[in-house]
Symmetry: C2
Subunit: 390 residues, 2 copies
């Protein structure tokens, strides 16, 4: 079956952070408004909308959250569908939107993500995020996300040796990048010692290895390529959009990003490229060990060589393959349902040369990797999206 080619027309993002006193409808609609205004797309042009959100229903707000946000900008009467896959929710929303345009059912579709995580009791927010694949059983055992990242980091170091300093360097890199991103949540000027001396929270993970809980929203208007080219001077092409859930594993290798490997392979194959072709990358650094392992899962480094990649400087803003120029989850923040589309926003800005002080030099191809749910096994998902300016 012939498929349409798909491009991002434009994007929008609210500030990420503690948006005190602001409702999801406020900052959610702000992201959509920016995406629409910068696209010359009218609310009536949007044929369908997909929204990623994890826990708003749980937080006294509402179900049908997409409709509640979009009526603020006059997008009504169309199919509006909420999608959830934990921290990968809005990438899944983006990919559903992509499929609708790709299959020819719609010409212009909106994808967005939104989350409010501050201003609710920490206990509630933690429970919402208790994550693993099974909060009721595993959550009660202390297997919150940072608990799991700690286990992963230990398993990794047991297999490949100490990478503690390189993990700190990842945090420093992302905070340095985030200082150049006015929309980033945690604006911290930190060095390696600050990370290493911060409070232990799940050995060897320390406080400054972890991303914050944030509020925020991000949106993207996507369209059939021909239409996108009429609407804006520089549409950004979607070359691959892949998502998979984890496999049942006979033997769990906590030190390996098996799921990333499978998803990345599909995406590279769809886009007709390999990891060496990437000019800018956003990955799911909910904890520093996550970023390091995603290097390996995506093929930016061989298995066990993630720390060498850090030491090489290749992932720095001026390196060969800058990773998380936005500041990543670590600094930009992690409003879980919004993170995936925020990664897409960053790639679009980078590929258009609009990223200001954190602009990567002349990138052509970008990749975003966004995870959700359990870190290993059947309870998790990974997504890979590849964009280019051709």
């Amino acid at each position: 079956m012939t498929e349409n080619e798909v491009a991002v027309v434009n994007v929008g993002q609210s500030d990420f952070g503690e948006l005190e006193g602001q409702r999801v409808t406020e900052f959610g609609s702000r992201a959509v408004r920016e995406a629409l205004l910068s696209s010359s797309v009218e609310p009536d042009d949007i044929e369908e909308a997909y929204i990623g959100n994890v826990a708003t229903t749980a937080q006294d707000q509402t179900s049908v959250i997409g409709q509640a946000i979009l009526r603020e900008v006059g997008v009504t009467g169309i199919p509006i569908i909420r999608v959830e896959n934990a921290c990968a929710s809005s990438t899944c929303a983006f990919q559903e939107a992509y499929k609708r345009v790709q299959s020819g059912e719609s010409d212009i579709v909106l994808a967005m993500g939104v989350e409010k995580m501050t201003g609710v009791p920490t206990e509630v927010a933690l429970k919402d995020m208790a994550g693993a694949a099974d909060a009721e059983v595993e959550g009660a055992m202390g297997m919150t996300f940072m608990g799991l990242y700690g286990m992963r980091a230990n398993a990794y170091m047991n297999q490949f040796g100490n990478v503690r300093e390189e993990l700190a360097d990842i945090a420093v890199k992302n905070h340095d990048n985030g200082l150049k991103n006015p929309r980033a949540h945690l604006q911290l000027n930190v060095d390696r010692d600050d990370i290493l001396e911060s409070r232990p929270i799940s050995d060897p993970i320390r406080l400054l290895d972890a991303c914050p809980m944030s509020d925020g929203a991000a949106a993207a208007v996507i369209a059939r390529t021909e239409i996108a080219e009429e609407l804006v001077e520089e549409p950004i092409y979607v070359d691959a959009a892949e998502m998979l859930s984890g496999n049942y594993l006979e033997e769990v290798e906590f030190w390996r990003e098996e799921l990333d490997e499978r998803v990345a392979q599909k995406a590279y194959s769809e886009a007709g490229i390999g990891p060496d072709d990437l000019d800018v990358v956003e990955v799911h650094d909910a904890a520093t060990i996550g970023e390091l392992m995603h290097y390996e899962g995506l093929g930016l480094a061989d298995q066990g060589e993630g720390a060498s990649l850090v030491r090489s400087g290749d992932v720095m803003l001026d390196g060969r393959t800058p990773v998380n120029p936005s500041g990543g989850l670590k600094s930009r923040g992690h409003p879980v349902g919004a993170t995936g589309v925020a990664q897409i926003c960053e790639l679009v800005w980078q590929l258009r040369g609009e990223a200001g002080a954190r602009q990567v030099e002349n990138p052509s191809i970008g990749l975003a990797q966004n995870s959700g749910g359990a870190l290993v096994g059947e309870g998790g998902v990974s997504t890979v999206t590849i964009l280019s300016n051709r």
Copy 2:
């Protein structure tokens, strides 16, 4: 673009009711197992899965609930995506699955819905359902669903005269049907007086006008028609699957199902039929007034003539167009995230002549209507799915 034709291969449903002590993974996987076993479809044959669920994240369970349920039956490693649109969540999941097969991206896809509503504090369940489009503002004003249905019933009667007795007759019909459905939640032998004398909860709505809060799950395996025909003797064809959100309305007509009208028109046009062609119908009778108004929205009766349709006997099990042979939300129960696919299950059983004591005579074409969110305006959705045995 050419589109594939799509059929339901088979379906499964857990008992609906108070499934005390059972986790969503238990009764959720039971519904999936029934759908798979009756389809001769192996877990590995499922290429993608969509799951409808509203509030499990809010209830101490987990996000990525689809993955948690499907690993119980060995469905892992594929795209699994949760979809939410309040009480229409699983119809939206079904329709997303349908689109994936229709567009040719996948051959065999699983759609399901699941919800656990009992065994959580009533306050929490009510808050989860507080519904309107905006629980934080409207919910606090008492605009829970039964509050809204009471307002609607008053507006309707103000416009068209008293239909109080016919509303009671709808409840009696659905409970009579439900008594013939072993999977139905509320098995009540009631007459008109029982309904009229039950406790008022939102005048003129009384307790026995309202559906219960239930636990339950339902699943459907759908496939490209050619494949479905190889797998089972009698696939049930999907002739239309439409969903829309509400329009912004200058003047809200609380007595009119404007959204139903738009969605039904699209669905009839897609299927090439009209309301007179329907042999069996399932509608969203969360309250009896809902069922009456859906008659009009779907064109089974003219505006203001819903009560006449009830009096005519046409909607009875042995009538011209039986409505809610399953017992509807009123008797089968309303585990919100599961209701839509449960309607699909009923249509499939009816169209195959497998509905036992509640079998409608020789039906060829069935329609399911499932609503979610606010009852009027931009905050709600309506879905219409048309199935046939050709």
